[in-house]
């Protein structure tokens, strides 16, 4: 989905709030959130693709104003309800207040029907796919061409795995793009490497 989470290349953001030795956590509840969603994944309530997708399904204004761990918490609560572990009413009773959740999801998809094996050096193009469900293709590479650098081991196909659809695991390709081609005349010169699932790619 072309969600608000897909931030790569968006303009208008200010300076990175950087500090040496910056912490990962700012409050005890944040660590509890991390512990609890990890526990839920270990317990098989949901997988990491479902977890990521539930964050992406948050209402955009909520996504942008929530902290990282509030987004994680929203995903955890949404999925525990969707999976039938708890009801929204039970959580509201326990929390003594309303609980903001992510929006319902759209359909996922299985692997591309025709997938090609690529070699390092091959010129490839990212397909112009527009999907309503989960996808791990950042929008800034859609339709763009790059060169294959290497192949990574097969992983569960996220577009399916986030939706409980059966699919084959497939390799990802490390594809090297030129920033000037991703954002013509509007980017600083660099090579941008993206791990691209095989189903997203075609020969250029």
């Amino acid at each position: 989905m072309d969600g608000i989470h897909d931030l790569g290349g968006r303009q208008g953001f200010g300076k990175v709030r950087y500090g040496v030795d910056a912490p990962a956590f700012h409050a005890a509840w944040e660590m509890r959130v991390n512990a609890l969603y990890s526990l839920a994944v270990r317990a098989g309530i949901f997988n990491m693709d479902e977890y990521r997708h539930a964050i992406e399904r948050m209402e955009p204004r909520h996504y942008l104003t929530a902290s990282y761990y509030e987004r994680a918490l929203t995903s955890l609560l949404t999925l525990c309800i969707e999976k039938g572990l708890v009801t929204a009413e039970e959580l509201q009773q326990r929390a003594q207040g309303a609980i903001p959740l992510a929006a319902a999801g759209a359909a996922g998809r299985s692997n591309a029907a025709h997938r090609e094996r690529f070699q390092p050096g091959d010129l490839v193009r990212v397909k112009s796919d527009y999907v309503p469900g989960h996808i791990r293709m950042p929008g800034y590479i859609r339709g763009k061409s790059g060169r294959v650098v290497s192949e990574s081991p097969a992983y569960p196909f996220p577009d399916a795995h986030a939706h409980g659809i059966s699919a084959e695991a497939e390799p990802t390709y490390d594809v090297r793009f030129k920033s000037e081609e991703l954002w013509p005349a509007s980017a600083e010169r660099a090579f941008i490497h993206v791990g691209v699932f095989q189903s997203y790619l075609e020969r250029a």
Binding site: H5, D6, L7, G8, G9, R10, Q11, F13, G14, K15, V16, Y18, G19, V20, A22, P23, A24, M31, R32, L36, S38, L39, A40, M48, R52, I55, Y68, L76, L77, C80, V86, E90, Q92, Q93, R94, A95, Q96, G97, A98, I99, P100, P138, Y140, S152, P153, Y155, P158, T172, D174, R176, S179, L182, W183, A187, E188, R189, A190, F191, I192, V194
Partner: protein, 207 residues
């Protein structure tokens, strides 16, 4: 439940605080026998002892002093770090180690969420997960690095690695000048988390 507030014809229930929401799911898990409170109590130990940048620092120091290890590390990161007793979560099936040089700076990010090789680099710092870094580092890498204190000469090539799949990355920083003959332990103490992410370079005074 807090008292509902009636606004015009709608009943508005105040939103629970994040702490109340966490309490709610933790209690619900506990009631279902999932031992959530134990997991919560255990977690800070994982963070403080297992997911720490010192792991990556040991890997880097070993690569600096042992050319054969360095070759194995660049060929297969996951297998090489296992030699040091380090492991990654099962779904992180691949560790790609990115070697810097005087003419090359590698930088890691995750524009879609905030994935990292936490078992090697440690849990990502707050700024790595912020919207600003995720939005800007792919498009304005040189400016972002300069703002973060890394002012690279124009001839240095920048490669940004966006962690979009379950492949994980670690930057292998350059060994600082003036460290000939140093022990692995002393070298490891020089290596910072931010140098493993690629937003900082090292010098012999870093540690």
């Amino acid at each position: 439940m807090s008292s509902p507030v009636v606004v015009a014809d709608r009943v508005v229930v105040p939103i629970a605080s994040v702490e109340q929401r966490v309490d709610a799911i933790q209690a619900a898990f506990d009631e279902r026998g999932m031992k959530a409170t134990e997991a919560v109590a255990e977690f800070p130990h994982l963070v403080a002892e297992q997911w720490v940048p010192h792991n990556g620092a040991r890997v880097v120091a070993k690569a600096w002093v042992d050319p054969e290890f360095r070759k194995r590390l660049l060929a297969n990161g996951r297998a090489a770090i296992a030699e040091l007793g380090l492991s990654m979560p099962a779904h992180h099936r691949h560790l790609v180690v990115l070697e810097n040089s005087p003419a090359l700076q590698n930088v890691i990010c995750c524009t879609l969420c905030s994935c990292t090789a936490m078992a090697v680099i440690g849990l990502p710092p707050d700024w790595y997960k912020d919207l600003e870094y995720r939005a800007r580092v792919v498009r304005e890498s040189r400016t972002v690095l300069r703002e973060m204190g890394l002012d690279l000469p124009p001839q240095v090539e920048i490669r940004v690695w966006d962690t979009t799949a379950d492949t994980r990355y670690m930057v292998l920083p350059e060994r600082p000048a003036g460290t000939a003959g140093w022990s692995e332990e002393r070298l490891a103490a020089l290596v910072t988390r931010d140098s493993l992410i690629g937003v900082a370079r090292l010098n012999a005074g870093t540690g």
